[in-house]
Subunit: 457 residues, 2 copies
């Protein structure tokens, strides 16, 4: 067996000179005095860059860029570490999986679309790179090579606040192409700001999905070794390669530590914090699965809508642009609704109050919108819970005006769904009917009391 | 001592005929066969209605309407209950406070504005009354009479989705009048849908506040004895009468059980669920206090901004109407911003993505808005966390265009604040400066990690 599998060039030469073997604890001293210490990992060689991969004591792998001035020493051999561990010493013993034979690893495609995850993996330089190719991701996070036979493609480089329906359509096409080519799972690297919108766009566009799709991003623009990018990417590749479900998911940190990530159903997830690593949370639903990247383990939390291989790929791409999401506030002027009607909008998602209300002075404008065959859907700005427009007079007036109740759909999901529905229905009535149907898990018919988070007080 | 203090007319006659005394366990059998059993409570007589108040085993008091066909029997005397309890029996022994002398109870004004709380207290009939006067609230929840010398006024009867700045102004005036008259605490009964908006409007309008103001409502339109209306009302009266802080608060159920209510700072609270009793939760802040209504106890959780009696009442009433709250979504057309500019809006609160972003194609329209001296404020649709527009290029572009970062303000609070600020600043620059100042606890300069809720996974 090779002592330093995957290493070439100067990296290989340095390791051989030091007598280091994979599994040994080594110390790397750079010319500028920086010191890295950890377990030497095998390299999944996609490129010939002079990088040595070590596993730090915190469980993360990092890639250290080396040159002829780098000094490497073996601190402790693998045998000594295992001996001490057997005797009860608190040694770090990484699971050194043998690289599985190529033909056994599932084929996963990573599609890069932009965002923070593509700007922060260069541990060795400390620099925040503005745009990194998906191939660079593989380079920087070698562990994904053990999980899957990874291919990578940079589809676009868009900050996610600049995402819009035309890009959703391009991503749908790219993912469909990869699935048709036989990839067994797809990872979409995406900025976090609007990741949930794009992910749910894919959930509606793929009416049949034979493999999992995992959206992934990074919350922090930082050069820290504990950046969430690699943790999330490993988790997403694991979901794409091995998850039993064939759904569109968002895979991001589950808590502030590095224990597990969560795979959220795309239509039920929302970015709930500006900066925390565990910003993404399922609303009105439990996540689909907990994902333990270091243990290579996926634990189902919810029943999947469909399992891997159950369905044939059916793509219904296309999103109507003339759809608006309108959040209600006290005193909101009805001229805002009138404006949308006059500008030819075809759909309006209202984010009303409570069980699904708006000020009564808007009812006439809303009725006029419906008479113009604009689909008007009601959701709630409370986010949690379910719209019920039969309880109070205002709700009943809005129902009478033709508003479609959005059940427990997130306002953002209802917006994406309406955009999709309007592009794929042949009549106003069909569009309204489809908005009430549960197409991609966007409606959870049964809420348990434990779905509500526990608040700090 | 009187055996049935506070009772008059038929109620008194029935009790005397049965030989019942306050503290006895009695059974009330109605003509229609319905049976109520509980501890006879003294009556705080604000009206002469034929109602007998008993404490149920679940801790709630209910008022039972009686007539000449009602039969009352004493199940167990107070002495027997106390004897058994002393011997260890699991008897319900309510704390029977003596009614304090009138001059010792703080004077509390309850101002009715409408909403569910005013439509559901009639336990004895099971009917959902559409509009109940504040005096009726006192009638139906006798316990508040032990806590405070309660006055009541029906100011308006508005479903809270129909609230708007002109009503905020009327409520400010009514509250100011009551404070000037010497009331030591104010309760505002309000529908829950937009309660947080109205409460924060008052927080900005009262620049000096010598007493606590407690907004209160009911989440469930139900005729169940365990309706949250009375629990919340007792808690709110307790806050108004006895809280050490002089702030505007929202007082609502803290959890699904009947253990405690929470007093939330008005500028940091949000309705987070369509129907749960604990729908109101503080975001980016801990609540101000936990309130245990049955134990008459208030436990401070956060440091108050100001304490009772520290400040002189200063009222700055008035809210600008031409302010919009605009939630961003992928692909949002810039014509929506242009429309608001053209319609003479003076302020726009954007609910952007992540750290405070919108699509770059909106920047020109936003710049034009600012050039027209429209104050544009950025908040985040994540709700949790803090806007930071220096991290990414889009944020910096928006700052350069003149957007005011909203820090960790809730979008709804920023909307109300901007409406207030524009009515009380003499220049565009002053308005922008005030938006960045912490006027009423709407900005929490320091977040601890435990402010984020614990999500179910």
């Amino acid at each position: 067996m090779e002592t330093v599998p995957g290493y070439t060039g100067i990296a290989r030469a340095l390791l051989e000179r030091a007598g280091a073997r994979v599994g040994d604890r080594i110390r790397i001293v750079q010319r500028d005095g920086r010191v890295f210490e950890g377990i030497l990992m095998p390299r999944y060689a996609l490129s010939a860059k002079p990088i040595i991969v070590i596993k730090l004591d915190n469980g993360y792998n990092i890639g250290v860029r080396v040159d002829e001035h780098t000094e490497i020493t073996v601190v402790k051999t693998r045998e000594a570490i295992l001996r001490e561990a057997a005797a009860g010493a608190p040694a770090v013993v990484p699971l050194l999986e043998e690289q599985p034979p190529l033909e056994k690893r599932p084929r996963v495609m990573i599609i890069g679309t932009g965002g923070t995850i593509a700007s922060k993996i260069e541990y060795e330089t400390g620099a925040v790179k503005p745009a990194m190719s998906a191939r660079d991701l593989v380079e920087a996070v070698p562990e994904i090579g053990f999980i899957a036979e990874v291919s990578a493609e940079v589809l676009m480089n868009i900050l996610s606040e600049n995402m819009r329906p035309e890009y959703w359509e391009r991503i749908v096409d790219a993912v469909a192409k990869s699935i048709a080519e036989g990839f067994e799972g797809i990872v979409v690297a995406h900025g976090t700001d609007t990741m949930a919108y794009t992910a749910s766009a894919l959930a509606f566009a793929f009416r049949g999905l034979p493999v999992p799709i995992a959206f992934v991003g990074a919350q922090r623009s930082s050069d820290r070794p504990s950046s969430d990018a690699s943790f999330n990417l490993i988790s997403a590749v694991l979901v794409a390669a091995r998850a039993p479900f064939a759904e569109v998911t968002v895979v991001m940190h589950g808590e502030t530590g590095d224990t597990y990530a969560l795979a959220h159903r795309a239509t039920k997830v929302r970015k709930m914090h500006t900066s925390r690593r565990d910003a993404f949370q399922s609303i009105n639903a439990r996540p689909l699965a907990r994902v333990y990247p270091f243990e290579r383990r996926i634990e189902l939390v919810s029943e999947p809508l469909q399992r891997r291989g159950e369905q044939e790929l059916r793509v219904m791409n296309g999103f109507e642009r003339k759809v608006a999401l309108v959040k209600y506030y006290p005193g909101m002027d009805s001229e805002i609704i009138d404006f949308l009607v006059d500008r030819g909008y075809r759909g309006i998602v209202l984010e009303g109050t409570g069980l699904g209300h708006v000020g009564e002075w808007l009812v006439d404008s809303i009725r006029r919108a419906v008479e113009n065959e604009i689909v008007v859907v009601m959701t709630s700005q409370t986010l949690f819970g379910r719209v019920n427009m039969n309880v109070y007079a205002t709700g009943r007036k809005l129902l009478a005006a033709g508003v479609v109740p959005g059940d427990d759909m997130l306002p953002e999901t209802a917006f994406v769904k309406l955009s999709w529905v309007l592009a794929h229905s042949s009549s106003f009535e069909e569009a309204k009917r489809l908005m009430r149907e549960n197409l991609a898990g966007e409606i959870n018919p049964r809420h348990t009391v434990d779905l509500y988070p526990r608040w700090p007080h």
